[in-house]
């Protein structure tokens, strides 16, 4: 493809390979006069301007010169040398030329005679120049000192013009030179020619020469004789005759250039205007034409590959121009130089009228594709690569030996760049795997794991984080958290002893045990006091009197108002509790609002109204621990999470980084994986750290992962798609990138995603599950094997990307998640009864919600079966002699909601001291005397003012035998250690789906962990059947492709194993070659790539049987073959054997000629004579006979086998 052109009559030279950017030097040509007959002479430098799609080169510098140039070379030493007429050599400093400096000419010499038309720069010593001119003069110049050139030896006789010079490409002291009749090779160390090449049999007139870029002893020489327009490849080791003669030009060949980027590519430019590209290393007769680069009507007198850019070449032609071509690239028909375009426009009346012409478009070039080289150039052949693939795999291959039979290998490697990550993930995965497999030990192991991590962590915050996380897996979750927050229960009793009750309540409302005992004591003390007598009830106008009066009259409301007026809040409360609930509310509200800034009020108000969000909002950030502790103490698990998260969010907004860390802890406590993940990501950003920081990511992802596990274990599955999923997906990606596919799969925990699908398929899990469940419907995605399935595939695939499409991606923990999901559905604050067994729950709900108008959140509290909060309610009920009030505000009634206990309604009628009777399976906790009654009609009038330290706690729980049977079978043996409790508590989550768990759990155990033990999950709800099938299923895949082994070896047999010698074998068309010799000549184009490439059948066709050789000539074949075989048998030299093989091939040409009777009688008789000599073992005469053939008329025909025959005889002559 022509890419650039220069419409000038110039000689050009490439800038040296080192030069960047590459340029062209162009000097006005001395050989020709251009149409302008200009005597002006310039040396110009052009940049290639390849970035631009136009055809114009970009002129960089122009220098007027005195002389025109016969030849120009540009040395890597920074000198441009011009050979001129009259023996003149001009030396220019390239740099200065480029700067258009007037003193660019740095030297000149007239040592030569005649035109200096041969110049070459030594490829190894860039300052070494060889020049040649008339009378066999050759000089070697040191460009650093051009005063004293040396001669490589004596001038060769007869004196002739030096046509070409070329330094050997491998051995720096070897120089080749061409004269019209001979080619001399000089060894500069010996100062004499070491080899003279001349083709005695032909009338070649040598012009250019070019050394093999890699094989030091080989060179190509071009003949400019129109009668013999050939290029010959010679090997100095076999200097008797050329190895191959490249025949293709119609007229003399002027220019040669051998590509240093691909030794299989040699360019020749001829007077016939053709620019041909050969593979000179193919010694088939006539040579292998690779492609015709271009053809013009005028002489093509020079050509040169770019020393720098592979495939780029410059050609100079008699059509006044220099053109840059690329070997590849097809046609670019739409390209025109701006120059041409404007020329045309001008001729047709300027741009305006030009534009007015109808638009023409070329027919699509589809049909007439430019010929493409039959062989792919070496520079396109990527020899090696390394490519990453899924799972941290790296596929590598590298340049393999080209010889036949060498194995072409590809390696698949595992890359592990984060061994630490791998190690950690393995440890974690083992633990998590237990969870997934419902191992009862899972929670313990998880907790243990967290502890280990915490212990090993150096950072205090990290330690905290791990320990808080650990708490999530402990049955004693709340206690743990409180401990961590600094509310050690052991500390409390001592405090109690020294502090008054109110303070204690303020600080540690949850510590009801101690409080109760204390209160009991106090009460007891009070009781011991002598009964008060003689209290007078005033009857005046003071407040006390008024209050008394109101009380006496039963006007509770007024009494309350008066009390408030008198700031007797406690009295107001007691009185209000005798009246309507509303009244109580009012008093409460009044008091709380009035003392809003008081911490006690804040806490007790929050407690009373379950307004934890208010607490979170109102408290100082510095008090986060206390708030968190309060939340942990009082909130039922669902809301706990919510409020903790709220607290976390609040802290998150603080600027103090320590609060942000605190926020993390809050998230950990709330098991709010998503929020934590978000927080972590934000932290990373805040810390300006790349999320790519692996160790950080790993640690945090593990955290998030565990948290997610915890959340699920606690019945609050994390929603898909949030930050947590992102982090986990990222983490899984990391793991996968280290080859830990199984760990990655575990990390994803079955959330359906592309990543999950990818991992599972890579591990062979998905496929096999499919095989199990849909025996006749084969796997999925790419794994199908049969046609019918293939056709269905698309639909499958699309399915598979739908999240939760169960048939596609059976998640290992499907079973596990489903129940979770159902629990997850009820909003934490508004549990919705879902299943039939919840009947009672529904009934009770109205009671809990209905009467309340003012403080809606109150219902939350009631609804919440919070273990902790309940005792407080029960405290309200303290001293209440009344069993129950039907119109109860339902404070407690909702509790059963959660537990769907059939006995719930009876709650409200429970006598205060028998809290357990209706439904509370407190009996299951004989060891916990603190289990208070779950609910009490705390809102009954008169109750409210009761001491906070209710009496129930005293009651020996063991005695509280359920009056109603609890759900059968559940936890019948009440052997409950604290450890075992979580099992029990599991019911808190479980009930909705499991009527089995209908029994009410112990709700009001302040110190009781609420955490749902994992054993529960694994043991009961989640039959572990489905999940862990991977291992066993995997191997099954291997046997999937029967018979394929068989295909493979067979395949190898298809190739006859030829080396690169006959590339045509890849193109069936070439098979026809033998026997077509005549037509073959000059028709190279038709053999072009395209034709072959489009032959329909890549399969090798059997060679067409050849016609027999005429009987009378059969003797020739038998004789020559016999001789060849003898030679072959006689030698063990591999080289010789190859040579003989080659001879055999060429003899085949002779036989073909015989078959087709293409040889003249004269030649035939000579051959017969030769054969006779051979039979007589007179090889010398045979040789002579053969040589005489060369002079025959049909030399061109004979040439196809003559060298072979000669060589065969040479072999035969050798003594054996």
């Amino acid at each position: 493809m022509k890419v650039k052109e220069l419409k000038k009559t110039v000689n050009v030279s490439w800038s040296p390979a080192e030069q960047y950017p590459p340029m062209l030097a162009a000097g006005s040509a001395a050989q020709q006069v251009d149409a302008t007959f200009s005597s002006n002479s310039v040396l110009e430098l052009y940049s290639l301007n390849l970035e631009d799609l136009g055809l114009d080169l970009e002129l960089k510098a122009s220098l007027q010169t005195q002389h025109k140039f016969q030849k120009i070379v540009w040395s890597g030493a920074g000198t441009i040398v011009g050979g001129c007429d009259g023996g003149l050599l001009q030396f220019y400093n390239a740099e200065k030329v480029l700067n258009s400096s007037p003193d660019a000419l740095i030297g000149s010499s007239t040592k030569h005679n005649g035109n200096v038309s041969a110049l070459d720069i030594n490829p190894y010593q860039k300052n070494l120049l060889a020049s040649g001119a008339s009378e066999s003069e050759i000089f070697i110049w040191d460009l650093n000192n051009t005063s004293q050139p040396m001669a490589p030896g004596n001038r060769s006789q007869p004196y002739e013009h030096v046509q070409g010079l070329a330094w050997n490409q491998q051995v720096q002291h070897i120089l080749g030179s061409t004269f019209a009749t001979r080619c001399l090779v000089w060894d500069l160390r010996k100062n004499e020619p070491i080899m003279k090449l001349s083709d005695s049999q032909s009338r070649t007139r040598w012009r250019s020469l070019s050394w093999h870029p890699e094989v030091a002893t080989q060179l190509c020489i071009a003949s400019e004789d129109d009668q013999l327009p050939v290029v010959q490849l010679w090997d100095l080791r076999l200097a008797a005759s050329p190895l191959v003669t490249l025949e293709g030009h119609g007229k003399g060949v002027l220019g040669l250039s051998w590509s240093r980027h691909d030794p299989d590519l040699l360019l020749s430019a001829g007077k016939d205007g053709r620019l041909l590209c050969w593979n000179p290393n193919n010694t088939k007769p006539g040579g292998e034409l690779v492609v015709e680069v271009c053809q013009q009507s005028q002489w093509m007198f020079d050509v040169a590959w770019s020393p720098r850019t592979p495939g780029l070449l410059v050609a100079a032609s008699g059509e006044q121009h220099v053109a840059l071509h690329t070997l590849l690239g097809g046609t670019r028909a739409d390209r025109q130089s701006a120059h041409t375009q404007s020329n045309i426009m001008e001729s047709f009346g300027g741009a305006d009228s030009f534009a007015a012409l109808p638009v023409v478009t070329r027919a699509p070039p589809q049909e007439a594709q430019a010929p493409q080289p039959t062989r792919a150039p070496a520079w396109l052949k990527r020899p090696r690569a390394a490519k990453f693939a899924f799972g941290g795999k790296l596929v590598t291959f590298e340049k393999c030996p080209q010889d036949e039979g060498s194995r072409k290998l590809v390696q698949i490697n595992q890359v592990v760049t984060e061994p630490e990550l791998v190690e950690k993930s393995v440890a974690l995965e083992q633990v998590l795997a237990l969870t997934l497999s419902r191992d009862p030990q899972a929670a313990d192991r998880l907790a243990e794991y967290c502890r280990e991590q915490g212990d090993s962590s150096g950072d205090q915050h990290e330690r905290y984080t791990w320990f808080f996380l650990r708490a999530n897996f402990l049955p004693t979750f709340r206690t743990e958290v409180l401990n961590l927050l600094g509310y050690k229960q052991d500390d409390i009793p001592s405090k109690f002893k020294s502090q008054n009750v109110a303070d204690i309540q303020n600080d540690t409302a949850f510590l009801s045990r101690e409080a109760q005992t204390l209160i009991e004591r106090k009460l007891a003390n009070l009781d011991l006091e002598p009964t008060v007598t003689n209290v007078s009830i005033p009857n005046g106008e003071d407040s006390t009197s008024l209050i008394c009066r109101a009380l006496v009259c039963g006007n509770l409301e007024e009494a309350v108002e008066l009390c408030l007026e008198a700031n007797r809040v406690a009295d107001a409360l007691i009185i209000a509790s005798l009246g309507s609930q509303e009244l109580v509310y009012k008093v409460q509200r009044y008091h709380l609002n009035k003392t809003a800034t008081d911490p006690v009020s804040l806490l007790s108000g929050s407690l009373l109204r379950s307004k934890w969000d208010a607490l979170v909002r109102s408290s100082a950030p510095a008090n986060w621990k206390d708030v968190l502790a309060a939340l942990v103490t009082h909130c039922e698990s669902d809301v706990l999470a919510q409020y903790c998260e709220l607290l976390g969010d609040k802290l998150s907004e603080e600027s103090d980084p320590s609060y942000r860390k605190a926020a993390q802890l809050c998230y950990v406590v709330s098991a709010a994986g998503d929020a934590l993940a978000k927080r972590l990501l934000r932290d990373l950003r805040d810390e300006k750290r790349d999320v790519g920081d692996v160790s950080t990511l790993t640690q945090r992802a593990q955290l998030a992962l565990l948290l997610k596990t915890a959340a699920e274990a606690r019945g609050r599955p994390v929603k898909e798609g949030g930050s947590l999923t992102s982090v986990l997906t990222e983490y899984a990606g990391r793991l996968a990138s280290q080859g830990c596919l199984q760990s990655a799969l575990t990390a994803l925990q079955g959330s359906p995603s592309e990543m999950y699908d990818r991992l599972a398929t890579a591990l062979g899990i998905i496929q096999n599950r499919f095989a199990q469940h849909h025996p006749q419907q084969q796997p999925y995605l790419g794994r199908t094997r049969t046609a019918s399935e293939q056709s269905q595939k698309r639909s499958h695939i699309s399915n598979s990307y739908l999240p939760n499409a169960p048939s596609i991606v059976p998640k290992p923990d499907d079973q596990w998640q489903r129940p979770n999901n159902t629990w997850g559905q009820p909003q934490p604050l508004v549990p919705q009864p879902q299943l039939p067994p919840q009947q009672p729950q529904q009934q009770s709900r109205p009671g809990s919600v209905g009467p309340q108008s003012g403080i809606t959140s109150r219902s939350k509290y009631k609804v919440d079966p919070s273990v902790q909060s309940a005792p407080l309610y029960s405290q309200y009920g303290f001293n209440n002699p009344v069993t129950a009030q039907p119109q109860s505000y339902g404070y407690n009634s909702p509790l059963p909601d959660q537990y769907n206990s059939a006995s719930v309604p009876t709650h409200n009628f429970t006598p205060i001291n028998q809290p357990n009777i209706p439904s509370n399976p407190l009996s299951n906790y004989p060891n916990n005397p603190l289990n208070p009654a779950p609910l009490n009609p705390a809102n009954q009038p008169g109750q409210l003012n009761g001491s906070y330290y209710a009496s129930q706690g005293i009651e020996p729980v063991a005695a509280a035998v359920p009056s109603k049977p609890v759900a059968p079978g559940w936890n019948d043996p009440p052997v409950m250690t604290t450890k075992a409790k979580p099992k029990q508590e599991m019911q808190q989550q479980a009930p909705i789906t499991h009527p089995l768990f209908g029994a009410e759990p112990p709700q009001h155990v302040p110190l009781n962990p609420q955490f749902p033990g994992q054993q529960q999950f694994s043991g009961q709800q989640l039959p572990p059947q489905q999940h862990p099938g991977q291992q066993s299923q995997f191997p099954g895949q291997q046997s999937q492709f029967p018979g394929q082994q068989g295909q493979f070896p067979g395949q190898q047999g298809q190739f006859p194993g030829q080396q690169g010698q006959f590339p045509g074998q890849q193109f069936p068309g070439q098979n026809q070659y033998p026997g077509q010799y005549d037509q073959y000549q000059g028709q190279y184009q038709q053999q072009g790539f395209q034709q072959r490439a489009e032959s329909p059948a890549p399969v090798q066709t059997a060679p067409v049987p050849k016609p027999p050789i005429p009987d009378q000539h059969l003797i020739l074949q038998t004789t020559f073959d016999q001789l060849r075989n003898d030679c072959a048998n006689a030698t063990s030299n591999a080289m010789a054997k190859r040579k003989l093989l080659d001879i055999q091939k060429k003899l085949e040409n002779l036989y073909d000629l015989l078959r087709e009777n293409k040889l003249s009688d004269n030649s035939l008789s000579t051959l017969h004579a030769c054969a006779q000599y051979i039979q007589g073992r007179d090889y010398a005469n045979a040789q002579q006979a053969v040589t005489s053939l060369a002079g025959d008329v049909d030399f061109a025909v004979v040439a196809s086998f003559l060298p072979a025959l000669k060589m065969l005889l040479t072999f035969a002559e050798q003594p054996r």
Partner: protein, 313 residues
């Protein structure tokens, strides 16, 4: 750090030019100067020849697996100017043959699956083709960038579809422009952007001093910025970074002893594998201070490279 899992004797009869594992890492496709494409099933340490695809009439330069959601599709490009999309339907057959290039097709790359079934390929004729499957019409649309790189395009790579920013919902970035990066024989790297139904040159990155052999746009997973790696005949590997995909900053990762042939990002986008003429595969990672460090280097004794040197004397 690098351990060999499988060594596959491909049975190719000439140089291998590409080898790529599929989406799951279960199948290996290889292609070679022997004009064939082979597919192997890879199972823990063993491999089975699954198919030997013959349809090219010249060396096959590159193969690329499509995302499996589109089926088992493999694209191959060859010196014979053709791109063939192969499909496995019981057997492997040609699904589509693209003949729109006038010269050797040097590289093929499937677009991110989010864009649909779209293939980009580039050729020594200097042009880039973007071939997309039109589901409704059940045919292939072709858009062509002519004259993308004078004298040839060597390599092409897609900008990942998903935003780098983890906190952003990928869905909101649906409108993110489709981009391509190409490396050519004009020593340039060019970024192409789809605008309307046109592909326009958005940027040209100049740094290399010789042919750009390979370009690779890093998967964005977990990274906040876009990265492109390029390697060249000039023995250098350059990392280009951008925060907005518009302005790019080059960093020379390293200058090697020989031509660098291929660059490949790990799927997490943080490790770069470089394969060069010095017969070494090296892995590089950016350290916290922004320096690129070689974390592993493997010299292979796999092929005796000196064997095929033709040098004598």
């Amino acid at each position: 750090m690098i351990s060999v899992l499988n060594t596959i004797d491909t049975g190719h009869e000439d140089m291998i030019h590409d080898a790529e594992l599929d989406y799951y890492g279960l199948r290996l496709a290889t292609c070679s100067s022997d004009n064939s494409v082979k597919i192997y099933d890879i199972k823990s340490g063993t491999q089975t020849l699954a198919a030997d695809l013959k349809g090219h009439f010249g060396p096959v330069w590159q193969v690329a697996w499509a995302h499996p959601k589109y089926g088992n599709l493999l694209a191959s490009c060859s010196y014979d100017r053709k791109v063939i999309i192969w499909k496995e339907a019981g057997e492997w057959t040609k699904l589509y043959e693209y003949t729109g290039h006038e010269s050797s097709v040097n590289s093929v790359a499937w677009a991110p699956a989010e864009y649909g079934l779209v293939l980009a390929c580039c050729s020594s004729d200097g042009s880039i083709s973007i071939i997309s499957y039109n589901q409704d019409a059940a045919n292939w649309d072709v858009k062509k960038i002519s004259g993308a790189h004078a004298i040839g395009v060597n390599s092409i790579s897609w900008c990942p579809a998903i935003s780098a920013d983890l906190s952003l919902d990928p869905l909101t970035n649906k409108e993110a422009s489709k981009r391509l990066v190409s490396g050519g024989c004009d020593n340039l790297i060019k970024i192409w952007k789809e605008q309307g139904d046109q592909w326009v040159e958005e940027n040209r990155l100049e740094m290399h001093m010789d042919w750009v052999r390979d370009v690779a746009w890093a998967p964005s997973l977990g990274l906040q910025k876009s990265l492109i790696a390029s390697c060249s005949q000039d023995k250098r590997v350059v990392i280009w970074t951008s925060d907005d995909n518009v302005s790019w900053t080059p960093t020379i990762l390293n200058t090697f002893d020989d031509v660098v042939w291929s660059v490949s990002w790990s799927l997490t986008g943080n490790i770069l594998a470089i394969s060069g003429g010095d017969n070494k595969v090296s892995l590089w990672r950016e350290s916290a201070d922004g320096q690129w460090q070689c974390i592993s280097e493997v010299s292979k004794g796999l092929g005796q490279t000196s064997n095929d040197e033709r040098s004598t004397l």
